[in-house]
């Protein structure tokens, strides 16, 4: 019998048993007992054990590819372990389906959480248990319940709206509300804050705290060590599929944590910008685009300019316009003094403008293609004008591996089999291979572990030393502060003011953002 | 009430030349009577045929003439036509019931029997007794006419000539399948004696297969493979005259249509029933037939006959009418 058939049979049998018997109150909510999982020759989870106490927030830490998401999927029932047991409230749920585990109060917000774009927000929140009357869906009650949920989580959107019309951050919030709604015993949050703005992260952390007061436990996965230190009561560190450390979180220092995760010291990279005037690389004049402009902005050789502003108020739209992904309605862009055509990504790239998307899966990689091909996508090293030069591609893979420490089996491995952080490195590598004059970076370290983050920061800095001009969006004020030479603040699609290098502190950046948010 | 000037026509297929001739015959006949012609094509779908009938009946034509895709499903519609006062004439494939004013058909089964007898006769000539092997590359069995021809051909050989081996393989009314099957059979059977095609349409493919394998020889050559077919189309007429085919059995699409129109005009529209009994018309090569009573009404069955070198120039063959009078070619170019 195949695995899945067994699931179904099992499910039917267990569902008849009636309400789930409550666990002893003092025991751990979740016990992971010696779990093994392998996709190929090398195990991804190699005898992992951990336990999560009632009401605890358990930080799950590790480098990219350490196995965190895999473990979450095994616990939630998305994937099945090769060996080992999962106990929820004392009951062995290892052979239960995802649905059965959900019924027992186990929820997962996965790293690449998805929504039903064509359904309303209300349905997104309540599926599959829609309120019914006389057997039919009670739409009025549905929107009433969904409205209450949205309100209690401070999300201001009509539950009747099509979920696909929400922007990326609101979609994430929707997915999170769905995960935390209802009677949850244990919620696994796999990088819930990746790509969220500071205030939203704060919000999320407050919800989580509040929910623990009701007795809900969490497994919390994040590459932001400060979040883990602020929120978590206990932690487990995974390294190469094994538990490298675990314990109570209180005693951990920031450095110590980084060391536990990477296995060595991580030197925090801090860029030393120079205040000297720089010759301009990119000059943006009167640029208008849907929902913004006119924008005037000049970035000089080796300069990194941070863009700050609310979602939908300009920064992302400016980058996407420059990248050729949004149509410019008027204005001009000069690169190295020459007017650049920016009608499509191809034109922008030809003009030396390279863009790193924040939407890795939707717009970043081609999942079915190899690592080597993804590194060379749209920029094939050629021979004889038409054929692809394989050694050229392999050279690029070698360089990316050396520069960013990418964990992979080989250049021909499909990129979808890499962990999220490693995929991100490949995307950045693709841009750097183009030797661009201008780099547009939208969250370059999204989902990237502490060590790789430093790597990436160094790579960006290296690029500026070669004269590349950088426009950067980073929701993390700390990351912003460490990299940028100056910051421009957007409001309602236009540049409101700019903060120069002097007095550019984390607080100032955070304030610039939040000031806008208050008004 | 004044009679409509529109003659309605519904054909099961239009993709084959035979059906084109049927339609053209009606078009010309209507023209000669000063009437208008409307024609529809069901393209092999009996539901489409029923829908076409319904739409045509809606316009209350003078009469509706059709070749049935299937002998049963149109029966209720003949009753509807009657209630609307539209006489119905069937050609080629008659119905098994209903109220049809006049039907003109061809004895497809008999044509298969004749081809079988001819094949047996030629094999007897070759071997002294009826033996040898024959490929029957039969057509789509969803077509009533082709089904009857297959049965006539194979049952005759099976029951009367037990020493003749029948290799029965379908071509599904597809040129490429006919070519492929004949090619394969020629390769498989270097000793193949005879080939029967159910209609002239696919004789070209059999000839192509023989030609490619350098096994196409004229009648009389010692390596000649006996070739028989049915229809007596313009192509077949050429082959018969050139001695490239052993026997071709004629049907007469032009006669079907013209006679049905004549019967409808002459009797039905005047409120009389079409009389049964012998039918004679020197306009057609076969000259004599019989109108019998059938479950669907009066039915004239046209006897099959051989198209031969000797009679090939008779201007009454439909192939000669099509090429010499209508100036229509089966092959373009």
């Amino acid at each position: 019998m195949r695995q899945s058939d067994r699931d179904a049979a099992e499910d039917a049998r267990r569902e008849g048993e009636g309400p789930f018997a409550p666990a002893p109150t003092d025991g751990p909510v979740l016990v992971v007992d010696n779990v093994f999982k392998a996709y190929g020759p090398v195990p991804v989870l190699d005898g992992v054990s951990l336990s999560v106490g009632k009401g605890a927030i358990h930080g799950l830490l590790g480098k990219n590819g350490a196995g965190k998401s895999t473990l979450s999927n095994v616990v939630a029932g998305f994937t099945r372990a090769d060996a080992g047991n999962i106990l929820l409230g004392g009951e062995d749920v290892s052979s239960l389906t995802l649905t059965a585990r959900k019924k027992r109060g186990l929820h997962l917000l996965s790293q690449h959480s998805e929504i039903f774009e064509d359904l309303s927000i209300g349905e997104n929140l309540l599926l599959p248990d829609l309120p019914r009357r006389h057997g039919f869906v009670d739409w009025a009650a549905l929107h009433r319940q969904a409205g209450l949920l949205l309100e209690s989580h401070a999300m201001h959107a009509s539950s009747r709206r099509r979920a696909g019309d929400l922007n990326a951050s609101d979609r994430r919030r929707l997915a999170i509300i769905k995960a935390v709604a209802g009677d949850a015993k244990l919620i696994i949050l796999d990088e819930p804050t990746a790509g969220l703005a500071a205030r939203e992260r704060q919000h999320l952390m407050e919800w989580v705290e509040a929910l623990t007061a009701r007795g809900t436990s969490f497994v919390y996965i994040s590459h932001h060590n400060d979040e883990v230190r602020q929120l978590c009561s206990e932690y487990t560190v995974l390294r190469d599929g094994k538990v490298a450390a675990s314990g109570a979180a209180g005693s951990l220092s920031a450095d110590g944590m980084a060391r536990l995760i990477t296995g060595s010291d991580v030197k925090e990279f801090r860029r030393v910008g120079s205040a000297a005037p720089k010759p301009p690389v990119v000059e943006i004049g009167g640029l208008c685009f849907p929902g913004g402009g006119p924008i005037d902005l000049t970035v000089g050789r080796g300069e990194i300019v941070g863009l700050v502003g609310l979602l939908g108020e300009g920064p992302q739209e400016l980058l996407r316009t420059l990248a050729g992904l949004l149509p410019a309605t008027s204005g001009q862009v000069l690169v190295d003094g020459r007017p650049a055509r920016i009608g499509s990504p191809g034109h922008s790239l030809d003009a030396g403008i390279a863009y790193l998307t924040h939407d890795r899966i939707g717009e970043g990689h081609v999942a079915s293609m190899s690592i080597a091909e993804n590194l060379s996508l749209g920029n094939w090293p050629r021979q004889a004008g038409w054929a692809i030069n394989r050694s050229g591609m392999l050279g690029r893979v070698r360089r990316a591996r050396e520069a960013m420490d990418v964990v992979m089996d080989g250049p021909d491995q499909e990129i979808r089999k890499l962990s999220g952080g490693n995929q991100q490195k490949i995307l950045l590598g693709r841009l750097l291979e183009r030797n661009p004059a201008v780099l547009l970076l939208d969250e370059p370290t999204i989902g990237v572990d502490v060590a790789a983050k430093e790597h990436i920061h160094r790579l960006i800095d290296d690029a500026t030393r070669r004269g590349v001009a950088v426009l950067l969006i980073a929701q993390d004020p700390d990351e912003m502060q460490r990299l940028v030479d100056r910051v421009v603040v957007f409001s309602k699609g236009r540049i409101e003011r700019s903060l120069s290098a002097e007095g550019l502190t984390v607080d100032a950046i955070a304030d610039a953002r939040s000031l806008r948010e208050k008004s | 009430q004044e009679l409509s000037k529109v003659v309605a026509w519904e054909t099961p297929y239009l993709g084959f030349f035979f059906f084109v001739v049927l339609q053209e015959a009606l078009k010309r006949k209507a023209e000669s009577l000063g009437l208008q012609f409307v024609g529809k094509d069901a393209n092999g779908d009996s539901n489409a045929q029923v829908n076409d009938w319904n739409s045509l009946l809606l316009q209350k034509p003078r009469y509706l003439i059709s070749d049935a895709l299937d002998s049963e499903l149109l029966i209720p519609l003949t009753k509807k036509a009657k209630s609307l006062g539209v006489p119905v004439g069937m050609v080629d494939t008659p119905l098994t019931g209903g109220t049809v004013a006049a039907s003109v058909t061809f004895d497809n089964r008999q044509s298969g029997v004749m081809a079988a007898e001819k094949t047996a006769e030629l094999l007897t000539k070759k071997y002294g007794s009826p033996k040898g092997s024959v490929l029957n590359n039969y057509g789509s069995l969803t077509a009533v006419a082709l089904r009857n021809r297959k049965e006539g051909f194979e049952e005759t050989l099976q029951s009367k000539y037990k020493d003749i081996e029948i290799i029965s393989r379908p071509q599904n009314n597809q040129h490429e399948e006919a070519l492929a099957v004949v090619s394969a059979t020629l390769r498989e059977r270097p000793d193949l004696d005879a080939i029967h095609m159910p209609t002239d349409i696919f004789v070209v493919d059999a000839r192509k297969a023989m030609e490619t394998q350098k096994r196409l020889f004229p009648v009389g050559h010692e390596k000649h493979i006996i070739l028989t077919s049915i229809d007596a189309s313009p192509n077949a007429l050429k082959w018969v005259k050139a001695g490239e085919i052993d026997a071709d059995i004629a049907q007469d699409p032009i006669a079907y249509v013209e006679i049905v129109v004549d019967l409808l005009e002459q009797y039905t529209l005047k409120g009389q029933a079409v009389p049964t009994g012998p039918y004679e018309n020197k306009k057609y090569f076969w000259e004599k037939g019989t109108i019998a009573d059938s479950p669907s009404g009066p039915l004239l069955t046209i006897p099959p006959y051989f198209l031969t070198k000797e009679n090939a120039d008779d201007p009454r063959h439909w192939a000669n009418v099509v090429t010499k009078v209508w100036k229509m070619e089966q092959n373009a170019g």
Binding site: L98, T99, I115, F116, L119 | S46, S55, L73, I75, T142
Partner: protein, 320 residues
């Protein structure tokens, strides 16, 4: 401007109805019969048989799959129903039940293939359709099974006054489909599964069962179509419906059902059905030589999709 946008959106969403009106008027100019009461009956009767097949295909499109065996299924289940009466002397009500049940079982088998065995639905159902039509050919030896039972034939031939009752079946079935798809939890699960299978699974929907269910529903409707066709035609033959499949797939798409799943309203399916029927009936009535009918039909469908593409472009603005 908001109003303008809404007006535009309304027009685009209802482009199929506008096309129906335009094509009807055009056909009416070419042959005034087209706008007669008799032809309206004609259109509605033809829309009934096609419309049920369109619904059948649509149920599988909603989950992002496709059922191309519906025509084979309709002939096969119609045949089984006819045999039930002829060979076993079944009462016509039993025969109807047998017809629909046969269709449903075939649909469920397709669903098992696609959902549990992960066979590609396009090809698996195409092959299934071939198999079923082949089975009918083999069983009937290409002969027509005549439906003699008046009860069975009633739906397809009865009239009230001069009005045939078939279209009543069309509207009842579409209404039921609307209620199921818009108001039942099962229906919403189909949309969720079609819209995002992984998310549906993660939300705790039994995705496999939902997918199997969509195919079973498709088979149920194909069986129903089998009954309606047999009742309408007064018999079953292997050649029934052989040119219908293309239209049964084109109609939902013209009516705004996405081939990628998760999207499509019952009203749109009805609109697509009526538009295709209007084109077909129009071509039956206008006096163009039969040689050119197929070409014109192809061009009309192309035109309808081209117009529909405005809606698609409106929705996908900015994407490539």
């Amino acid at each position: 401007m908001q109003d303008d946008m809404n007006g535009r959106k309304f027009l685009l969403d209802n482009v199929v109805w506008i096309l129906i009106i335009v094509f009807s008027l055009l056909a009416g100019v070419l042959n005034p019969f087209f706008l007669s009461e008799g032809n309206l009956q004609n259109v509605l009767v033809q829309a009934t048989t096609l419309g049920v097949l369109v619904l059948a295909v649509s149920f599988t499109l909603l989950i992002g799959e496709i059922d191309l065996s519906v025509v084979g299924n309709l002939v096969f289940s119609g045949m089984i129903g006819a045999y039930a009466m002829q060979e076993y002397g079944a009462h016509w009500t039993v025969a109807v039940a047998v017809t629909v049940l046969t269709g449903t079982l075939i649909g469920a088998l397709n669903g098992y293939f696609v959902s549990y065995m992960r066979m590609n639905s396009l090809i698996a159902t195409l092959a299934m359709g071939l198999f079923l039509q082949g089975a009918v050919l083999g069983a009937t030896q290409a002969r027509t099974l005549v439906i003699a039972d008046e009860g069975y034939a009633y739906m397809g031939s009865a009239t009230i006054g001069t009005w045939p009752i078939m279209p009543v079946a069309l509207f009842v079935i579409y209404l039921a489909a609307h209620v199921v798809l818009a108001y039942s939890a099962w229906g919403r699960n189909l949309y969720a599964t079609g819209g995002n299978r992984r998310a549906a699974h993660a939300a705790g929907i039994n995705v496999r069962r939902a997918r199997l269910g969509a195919f079973a529903a498709s088979g149920f409707l194909a069986g129903l179509a089998g009954f309606l066709y047999a009742s309408y035609l007064g018999g079953v033959s292997v050649t029934v419906g052989s040119t219908t499949l293309l239209y049964a797939v084109a109609a939902p798409v013209i009516g705004g059902v996405s081939l990628l799943g998760g999207r499509g309203r019952v009203l749109g399916m009805l609109g697509g059905t009526l538009l295709i029927t209007v084109i077909q009936t129009g071509l039956q009535l206008i006096n163009v030589s039969a040689y050119y009918i197929q070409m014109i039909g192809g061009a009309m469908i192309l035109l309808a999709i081209a117009v529909d593409a405005f809606r698609v472009r409106g929705e996908e603005q900015g994407s490539v």
